[in-house]
Symmetry: C2
């Protein structure tokens, strides 16, 4: 791969970031309508790549064509949702407080604020989502929607896919009234490449999806800067699932089938893969275990994204199975081929789980650990001993949730999303979604990486005080030319200011 896609020389990164800065200076003033047209054009150009893009991605990532097709559609869908958001316009959070010149003891000024873009954003895509979290994925789409220029460092495991998508963006640029360098695509397989981008003075923000080690390294590089910048790294998560006793008694088989599918979906290579299942010992669990084992036995091994991830899965899985008290519950009945991960369920007692933090860590791939607890107290302890998560799921009947209301209430402290009687895999792209969570799920739990509000990672509020109407951004002008929602003297309204 390195021969076809040579690393961008480190010395050139400086030039790239200067261009990104120049492009930003123009792009931030491009109208919402033109930005929306640009995002639409990117979506259209990606679609125009057709089968050839999907084939290239399949070859580079071993992901199935149906999954890639879904992901591609999600990616173009995301771009179009940001375009809609721009056309609707209210996302800028406009607040207007009009003057009261006669107020005593001092006159009240006219004070108006809205969100503006922070500057050039550097995006590091994910290996497991070559479209949706990569070159034209959520980070890029949200940063462009905000009005930031974007530099994407292509993921070294899918450079050809990344290049095709970058070409689609370049075509869209040529069709639209946007600066040529509003998007740039670079290559670099070294830590230095990432560091040089994150620490460049022109860089104003960083988006990353990947491992804890990688995301934390970028966060640390940014924290060392003279001028610190926000880093939004979305990292590991074990997405714990709590099975409450009544549902386990009543629905053991259904739950087992539902979770066997979620654990192995996409060869377990989703950041929302349910890595830890927690339940009470007893009859319900025995039935669940039996059905889960049967279902898992029937699943097929899948080829992993790349050699590094495959090796890591093999090593971590072996390590985990060697831990005190851990037993193999079931693995896929089919022997794995080259670079294939064998779906695996291990099990451990709550007591052993609580004393061994290694068991709390993510094993990226189709591996889950079933924690058997002797009582609700141990169950709650096991669950709350986990670090910050993208999601946590609660499986229960009405009676369960009523009996364990205190436990239910604690879910929000641990995760960005709480799923009731469902699986964590599958992230709906909508305003109500939160894809984020307390560290180490992300480096900043105050934001989401999915849904239109992902744009808030790349903006900051600016206030115009006593500004003549003709100099105000359109969103803040008296006559509200875009007809957006604004907080006008403490009331939400689309009205003009008279």
């Amino acid at each position: 791969m390195s021969t076809s896609f040579p690393d961008t020389p480190l010395a050139e990164m400086d030039l790239v970031m200067h261009r990104a800065q120049e492009a930003f200076e123009q792009f931030q003033h491009v109208s919402a309508r033109e930005k929306a047209a640009f995002l639409e054009a990117i979506a259209t150009e990606i679609e125009a790549l057709g089968e050839s893009l999907l084939q290239t991605a399949a070859k580079e990532t071993n992901i199935s064509l149906p999954q890639l097709t879904g992901e591609r559609n999600r990616t173009t869908g995301q771009l179009r949702k940001f375009a809609e958001m721009l056309l609707e316009g209210s996302w800028v959070d406009a607040s207007i407080d009009t003057a009261i010149p006669g107020r005593v003891p001092s006159p009240k000024p006219d004070v108006r604020k809205m969100l503006v873009p922070i500057g050039p954003v550097v995006v590091f895509g994910a290996s497991n989502f070559p479209f949706a979290y990569s070159t034209a994925g959520g980070d890029t789409a949200s940063a462009l929607a905000a009005g930031c220029s974007v530099v994407v460092k292509a993921h070294p495991q899918h450079p050809a896919t990344s290049t095709m998508v970058a070409t689609a963006i370049t075509k869209a640029i040529q069709q639209c009234q946007v600066p040529v360098q509003v998007f740039q695509h670079v290559f670099g397989n070294s830590a230095e490449a990432g560091k040089s981008l994150v620490q460049h003075p022109a860089t104003a923000g960083v988006g990353f999806t990947g491992s804890l080690a990688g995301g934390r390294a970028l966060y640390d590089y940014a924290a060392q800067r003279t001028t610190p910048i926000p880093v939004f790294s979305e990292m590991g998560s074990v997405n714990p699932v709590v099975f409450l006793p009544d549902t386990m008694r009543k629905n053991a088989e259904k739950l087992a089938l539902q979770y066997a599918a979620s654990i192995t979906l996409g060869t377990g290579q989703f950041c929302t893969n349910p890595g830890i299942l927690i339940a009470l010992e007893g009859e319900g669990l025995d039935a669940f275990t039996e059905h889960l084992g049967k279902a898992l036995n029937g699943t097929k091994p899948g080829k992993m994204l790349h050699q590094g991830i495959y090796q890591s899965f093999q090593n971590k899985r072996s390590d985990a199975l060697r831990q005190n008290g851990v037993e193999l519950l079931q693995e896929s009945g089919t022997a794995p081929g080259e670079m294939e991960a064998r779906p695996t369920i291990a099990t451990v007692s709550g007591a052993h789980f609580l004393e061994n933090p290694l068991l709390h860590e993510e094993i990226f791939g189709p591996y889950s650990l079933l924690v058997r607890c002797r009582d609700m107290n141990e169950l709650q302890q096991a669950w709350l001993s986990l670090k910050g998560q993208l999601t946590t799921s609660l499986m229960g009947t009405k009676q369960d949730f009523h009996e364990h209301a205190a436990l239910v209430q604690k879910a929000a402290t641990m995760a960005g999303r709480i799923i009731f009687n469902g699986v964590p895999t599958g992230v709906e792209v909508c305003p109500g979604m939160v894809h984020g969570g307390p560290y180490p799920a992300t480096t900043d739990s105050r934001f989401t990486a999915v849904g239109i509000h992902a744009v808030k990672r790349w903006v900051r509020p600016v206030c115009w005080q006593n500004c003549p109407d003709e100099l105000l951004p359109a969103e803040l002008k008296n006559d509200n030319p875009y007809g957006i929602w604004r907080l006008l003297n403490n009331e939400w309204t689309k009205n003009k200011q008279q």
Copy 2:
């Protein structure tokens, strides 16, 4: 002071933060109505301290009684605005996307999100605002409003004032249905005290107002944590003012009087003090200089907040006046007494200014530097050479703004607030206000420290997926019991969900 207010032993900080964590676990579930009553009660109890609080603060800070009275009223006003925000309720940014069970290829889940508090917040107050940015100031008020517990480290320069305010908060706690340890007050004059609070595992966020060195140190402590946390430090700013040529020709005297007052207001000890004035050489500037000099000559020296700030002012002022090309333009005609700062205007050419970054730095106190530029190009360069700012002011006629539209458009990249034909001192507390800005004005330009949106520093979004209505927070329930604004299936509405 140290005998009356001994440092909290470092070993006790751990206990303090554990108590804050326990209090948070209860307080986050306290209703909006009860939280609002609590904030109201704090305001009432602060007012009940009456003259005695003002006298104590005057003694500890050398701030005038009228100024302290205004600041006290602003502080209680802030608390009540957060109470109103809680009662109105829409601040939680609720988004609801309802399910579409029949959607193909996969059903759409019911997805709802709102903002929840991040956890215990540690607040470091400012020496220059013993009320509004200290013990019960904007950071504390916004964090409590969010539902966070708060630990305030008393500012070592006004421990008695801080203790009185802390006592008022304690009285309010006793009257309200809130956990006793929701607010705690500690003392500590060492860097270790701050470090131990910022690096404690239970600490979830930090608010600071003060020097660049102090704010950056806290930011660095937080970045070194295993679990990084947000730090909102509001630090230095020189608040540059650009005088455009037409207004300078037409309004030199009026501008001079306006700015002489702003420069010396509160002995120049406001973070929004205009420290750098930038104008074009010429007739207008000569008249401005003459009037500014006259006005400044007539101002009186003022006693500074404390010995450290006084010494720093003296040293930095002397240093600045020794720089190449810098000349004293005018100082107060009255000789300063003990610990008094002499209001001072120096001047320098644009060329000298551009080559000497030391002249770009804040001198906290009644000192401003007038930069004389030979053309608009140099003026713009001098202005844009400055780092991130809380504010920048543009003084101009309609003709000025029309002729220099490109310059006006650049203001937003530099500062959190742009003031047209006014002075930066005086920060209106309203939703449209932004008190914040690019580094080093603050450590995170994505937030404001003043106005109700300051609450957003201490919250994170959480999503409930397919959650039974009875288990949802009230703000997300179908029947919208609080009648708040919500983004319901992409439309802002106060309607119930049918």
